[in-house]
Symmetry: C2
Subunit: 206 residues, 2 copies
Amino acid sequence: MRISALAAEVGLPVATVKFYLREGLLHAGAASSATQASYDDGHVRRLRLVRALTGPVGLSVQQARAVLQLVDEPGDDLYSTLGRAVGALPPGGAEPGEASDPFPRARAALESLGQVYDPDFAAVAQLERALAAAADAGMPISPERLAHYGRTTAELAAYDLERMPAEPHAAVEYTVLGTALYEPVLLALRRLAHQDAAVRRLGRPG
Amino acid sequence: MRISALAAEVGLPVATVKFYLREGLLHAGAASSATQASYDDGHVRRLRLVRALTGPVGLSVQQARAVLQLVDEPGDDLYSTLGRAVGALPPGGAEPGEASDPFPRARAALESLGQVYDPDFAAVAQLERALAAAADAGMPISPERLAHYGRTTAELAAYDLERMPAEPHAAVEYTVLGTALYEPVLLALRRLAHQDAAVRRLGRPG
DNA sequence: TAATATTGGAGAGTCCCACTATCCAATCAC
DNA sequence: GTGATTGGATAGTGGGACTCTCCAATATTA
């Protein structure tokens, strides 16, 4: 399959495929001569994945590259690879400062939920930022609501973990792509559940 | 309070505050002369809200303006105002095409969950895109997983709805800001719950 | 009152990002 | 052999979010 066929298959301009090649999001095809390379189904799947990550998931090209690299070559320490991979996804929190307690809100929240508090994990910074943003905007999250959210998300996580593959490479792919691709589904479902509940409570319009 | 004090209070350059004024994200101060206006706590709060929306929540200036306008002046039809307001938030799905069944995956999903299917609601398009993206990327969501996510998000929505204020203006603010500000919290909590579950299953590193 | 600083307002400029277009010499395909 | 296509590199484009520069009209300060 030549580049024009590959581009047509995925529905992208050839120039864009070349761009992804240059940016390292797509591995080069098998070169058969100085001006010819052949691409296969792997390239098609990869391109679809790239489009999913840069489109609906909303990653920048840089972020997508970071995620894909970790999926392509996970380190030998599964725990830290998972942490880094998920940390490469947006929204991405700030770096931990020099303060003795860099993430006070997140720490308090996690302790009250009885969960691990590992300040190196990027999602802790995300949580801190999100909690601070809500409070700054005048809608702080009550401890009660936080507890409810924590219980519910723990249930979601337990479900996902039970289905995680045992083999490390597959586990990283499952975790990263599951996080990136399923989060939008969860958010859409929550919004629709709000609508459903609102209809039941407020009655149908018109 | 003059503009420089306002900017200092929120920690922004004066130029940026002027930019938000121009873009309609911040209402003008009370003009006391041709070159003087005074700003109050309302402006401080508003600016913090704008920063929360354009920062952690990730809205563009356009999106933030749309959201804030709906919060500022909700229509008389609460149901449609809520729908439009939440629809103004990202990721924002595509327009419904001319097809007889524009959102096949989303419709099937909602029907299997026993929820309302209203193709005018923007989150339906979001769900369609998210489901399509997952499938395109080679990780389609199984009906079983969808059912689980649906049950869990319904529980979240029920909790939120119970706490929605009765007065329309407050209800719109609660719903829109709750959606925009609490979604990042939920995502961070889910990622942390994954980590917590992973530690329990894989054991601590090192 | 005179000198200095600040303000509101508007326009232009900057920087980054995700593409997109143009070239070119080396093949291919007919 | 001749026109089309390719890989590869370089440059250009359009959008978004600021950021800078001016300016005349005040405020503030000396």
